[in-house]
């Protein structure tokens, strides 16, 4: 036994994994990781490339400045849908982001371990699994029916509620990742708990919380089903939140199932614009949020 533990007298098992075999295994593992990465990224690249291929040709100035033309007339654009999607997402974010973050804070910090907090977490998970069309119907009965008209407000609320569970859960998880030592540092300075949670814990977790918000945003930006019963869509200009409003996903839906070649072309363009706008807004938020980051911050 004593001999086996000395260098140069390693047990047989240890010796086999040295040298050539170890290097081979290392290369295989690396190749497997790189291969998986390519498989994961490939569909994304493929989709984007195909969108550019099919949609880029229909993008021109009119696409961004005009509203749709009647059937049979060439040209026209998606300006009202682009603005409409912007309005809907602004309403959705105004509802989803504060409520999602606030309930995430409650679940992770103030209510940790309480029955209410467990209930909120469970509800968020269930809400996350609710099909988006059901969300549309629910808001239809809650807002559209009483008001007796479709509206941008109803669409925004539907999307906003869909954002909440994702943001709640990521906020909770990011807050729980903040080490206890950081919280103790704040409490040890005589900072009240609520202040420590908002100014220290939430701030430390903010990159993750922002990612959660962007995920939720990107997800609802492409939603069509909940808008069918709420925002309805609109072929004309409208920015009023009390009127039906156009939205890119709705317009894509309507144009894609139409029999007209011209509309198909516009739908491809709209899909490209939708993805570009999502990427752009996520990038913008990341840039703005990242400007204050210090050298060596972790």
């Amino acid at each position: 036994m004593a001999i086996a533990s000395q260098p140069g007298h390693l047990p047989a098992r240890a010796r086999t994994s040295t040298g050539a075999r170890r290097i081979l295994v290392n290369h295989l593992a690396t190749a497997a990781a790189v291969g998986s990465t390519i498989i994961v990224v490939a569909p994304l690249v493929a989709i984007f490339a195909y969108l550019v291929y099919k949609g880029a040709s229909s993008l021109n100035l009119a696409f961004f400045t005009q509203i749709p033309k009647p059937v049979g007339e060439a040209g026209g654009g998606m300006a009202n849908s682009i603005i409409g999607s912007g309005v809907l997402l602004a309403i959705a974010s105004a509802i989803g982001v504060p409520m999602g973050i606030a309930s995430g804070i409650y679940v992770a910090e103030f209510g940790r371990g309480t029955r209410l907090s467990n209930m909120v977490r469970f509800t968020a998970d269930v809400l996350n699994g609710v099909p988006s069309i059901v969300m549309g119907i629910a808001i239809y009965s809650l807002i559209v029916l009483p008001q007796k008209h479709f509206s941008a407000l109803a669409g925004g609320v539907a999307l906003g509620i869909m954002m909440i569970p994702t943001i709640t859960r990521t906020t909770e998880e990011m807050l729980l990742m903040v080490p206890r030592s950081v919280r103790e540092a704040a409490l040890g300075l005589g900072v009240p708990n609520w202040r420590s949670v908002l100014s220290i814990t939430l701030r430390t977790a903010s990159p993750g919380v922002i990612t959660g918000c962007m995920l939720a945003f990107a997800r609802v930006a492409g939603e069509t089903a909940p808008l069918l019963f709420t925002a309805l869509g609109n072929q004309y200009w409208s920015t009023s939140i009390n009127e039906p409003i156009a939205a890119l996903p709705l317009q894509i839906f309507v144009y894609a199932i139409s029999p007209y070649e011209e509309w198909h072309r516009l739908a491809w363009g709209a899909a490209l614009v939708l993805i570009a706008l999502i990427v752009l807004s996520v990038g913008l938020v990341r840039y703005v949020a990242g400007r204050g980051v210090l050298k060596g911050a972790s």
Binding site: I200, R203, T204, L294, K295, G296, S298
Partner: protein, 252 residues
């Protein structure tokens, strides 16, 4: 100025685990007092009872009396208020990772509502000088994150942060145990200077460290304070057999 600490009949629990038993202790003002003992003996719990951090643990419970100066901290004052008067430095350096060096030091004041920039500038400079960190960081106060400093610098940053709120007592829970010898000796020099202005209680596993910085030393074992005396007496002529066994390395 530092104040003295008077502890009597102090008991503490973690859940059903009785970790401190009937502690009786007088810690004099403007001295450094070292607490030694094997792991799990209750010395960390003890210092965490001195600023009511123990009760931030959901299963932590405390009974007994701790008087800091004239104030009975478990009866006369809120936990938040006492922690402003009793600063704490933890075992692992824990600067706020998203904050600059400046913001870390200013955090205690800012989070309690002070906004006057001139005052903050002064306090930050004074605290960093006191913590012997000023010269190393003065050019990048607002550009560098507190987390980008070396371990020893981070710990001095944490000391500066604690000093910035102008406490009367400084509790240090093994402040140098995660640091290399050079950083450790810097921290010890610091303790030596700070004790003229503050009452310092330092938990340490390193008996030479206790001997170097502290006038008085207490030996904890199994949740009890076995012996408390001048450091010289503890290390040369302890009254209790268990203290002698521990400092001579016969156990622990």
């Amino acid at each position: 100025m530092g104040v003295s600490i008077e502890v009597s009949g102090l008991n503490a629990w973690y859940g059903s685990n009785h970790t401190l038993r009937d502690i009786q202790l007088h810690i004099p003002a403007n001295h450094a007092t070292a607490l030694i003992g094997p792991s799990g003996c209750g010395k960390s719990t003890f210092v965490r009872c001195l600023n009511r951090m123990h009760e931030t643990n959901p299963v932590g419970r405390v009974t007994g009396t701790v008087k800091i100066g004239q104030v009975d901290i478990y009866r006369d004052i809120s936990p938040v208020e006492i922690r402003r008067r009793v600063g704490m430095v933890f075992q692992r350096p824990n600067p706020f990772p998203t904050m600059s060096i400046y913001d870390n030091v200013a955090s205690g004041l800012r989070l309690n509502g002070y906004r006057n920039r001139k005052v903050l500038d002064e306090v930050v400079a004074r605290s960093l000088h006191q913590a012997a960190l000023w010269d190393e960081v003065k050019d990048e106060l607002k550009k560098k994150s507190g987390a980008s400093l070396s371990g020893g610098q981070q710990q001095r940053l944490c000391i500066a942060r604690a000093l910035a709120v102008d406490p009367e007592v400084m509790l240090m829970d093994e402040p140098a145990s995660a640091l290399d010898p050079v950083s450790t000796s810097k921290i010890e020099d610091l303790i030596f200077q700070l004790k003229s202005q503050y009452t310092i209680v330092i938990v340490t596993h390193n008996m030479q460290q206790a001997a170097r910085v502290a006038e008085n030393t207490g030996f904890f074992l199994n949740g009890r304070l076995v012996e408390f005396d001048s450091t010289h007496k503890i290390f040369t002529n302890p009254r209790d057999k268990r203290t002698e066994d521990y400092i001579t390395g016969r156990f622990g």
